[in-house]
Amino acid sequence: MSEGAPIYQKTRFSGRDSGLRSRLWRSEDHLLLVNSSGYAERYYRFYLADLQAVYMRRTTQGVWINLAAGVVGGVMLLSGLGFLSEGITGGFIGFVIAAVVFFAVMGVNMVTGPTIDCYIRTTSGITRIGAIDRLKKGAKFVEALHEWIDPIQGELPEDAESLYDALGGRPTPKAAAAKPTVPPIEPVSPPEMPTMTDFVVPPVPVEPTDAP
């Protein structure tokens, strides 16, 4: 490695993103997301000083996995019982082993908890973090992020709410309070309209000329 290259430490956050293995690594001042197919790796760096927000959204992926594994496992079990009723022990054992595998997948899926999509927002964009794919893992990730980021970014400002509103272009309560109030307009009587007499041009005195 070249001089000055950051040294990365493995974190406990890893998962799968669209079939790729995804893992988070940590360096002194940034996080590194590695999406790997095994033969090729893609890197994303998130500087802790620039990290603005973390989104997590529940998905139905876990429910579908449970449903699929449960249905297939159930069918395998019923088939095994069918073989048993026919007295074919080999078929029964084979199908029961297959059913146990599918039920184990379902069990692991249930134990690991609901599935989520996690995104990180920095100054340059929003990126999906495939390494965070479960809700429990997400909560631990946010805890760890606070541990890493708080010494760098500090605490949220006290007027964070009004600053947040200001991001959307709405006036903040503070700004509204600071805005000078305009005194109420008192009704005033309309000025008197000039009459025609005001515009009468006074007669120009004609100087007498010395006529020859």
């Binding site: 000055g4 990365y8 893609r42 989104y55 929003i126």
Partner: protein
């Protein structure tokens, strides 16, 4: 993967702006528009104004050095890689090193600057996989020679040993070429390269010796 930023935080599904009351809560909040449960944690950097870069200064006297890329701008830095004079606009600070855009790009393309790497090919995994395939192909070559007889055994074993030569040769080439180059940003041990070299050399040697034995044995008999 990156998307355009909204100023405020928005629901990832329906794009509805997330109210401040829903941010930094321990549990999940419900988006009233799309009925998706989610969580948002905000950090102080959200309220930090963007950092503005400095503008390059104009060249005022002929005694001052000018930027290599902008003749009318005053040189303020020197590229640590190529030594060119650079104005404020052209200089890039990276890990306490000042560089120009050209050197940065060439360093990124050559793969010498690990800190600039955005993707990499795992030559060690490729070499190891090829060596496993070589072991399998060599095994097939030996089995064909054992179970077939006469010329069919020799031809069959030679074909499979030929395939093993291709994969084994590729594995050894990968090891020789990439062993000393950076292959990943993350720490990677050398065991895959060593195992690939060992497995492909041994299995390839065994397959070739076996084919040689088949031919020589026939000639001797």
């Amino acid at each position: 993967m990156s998307r355009k930023l909204e100023k405020q935080l928005a629901c990832r599904k329906c794009k509805r702006v997330i109210p401040w009351a829903a941010c930094n809560q321990a549990g999940l909040s419900l988006c009233r528009k799309c009925n998706v449960r989610g969580r948002v944690d905000v950090f102080p950097a959200l309220f930090k104004p963007p950092v503005k870069g400095k503008a390059a200064e104009a060249l005022l006297s002929e005694d001052d050095a000018s930027c290599f890329f902008h003749e009318i701008k005053k040189a303020e830095h020197v590229c640590d890689a190529c030594g060119r004079f650079l104005c404020q606009l052209c200089s890039i600070e990276l890990n306490d090193i000042t560089t120009c855009a050209g050197c940065l790009e060439s360093g990124r393309k050559s793969g010498d600057k690990v800190e600039l790497m955005s993707r990499s090919k795992r030559a060690d995994v490729t070499a190891f996989s090829l060596s496993i395939v070589t072991v399998l192909l060599s095994g097939v070559a030996i089995l064909v020679g054992l179970f077939d007889e006469g010329s069919s055994a020799r031809v069959g074993a030679s074909i499979w040993a030929g395939f093993a030569c291709l994969t084994g040769g590729s594995a050894i080439y990968n090891v020789r070429r990439f062993r000393k180059k950076p292959i990943s940003l993350t720490p990677v041990g050398p065991w895959r390269f060593r195992a690939a070299l060992f497995l492909s050399s041994v299995s390839l040697g065994a397959a070739l010796l076996w084919v040689l034995f088949l031919f020589l044995g026939d000639v001797v008999s």
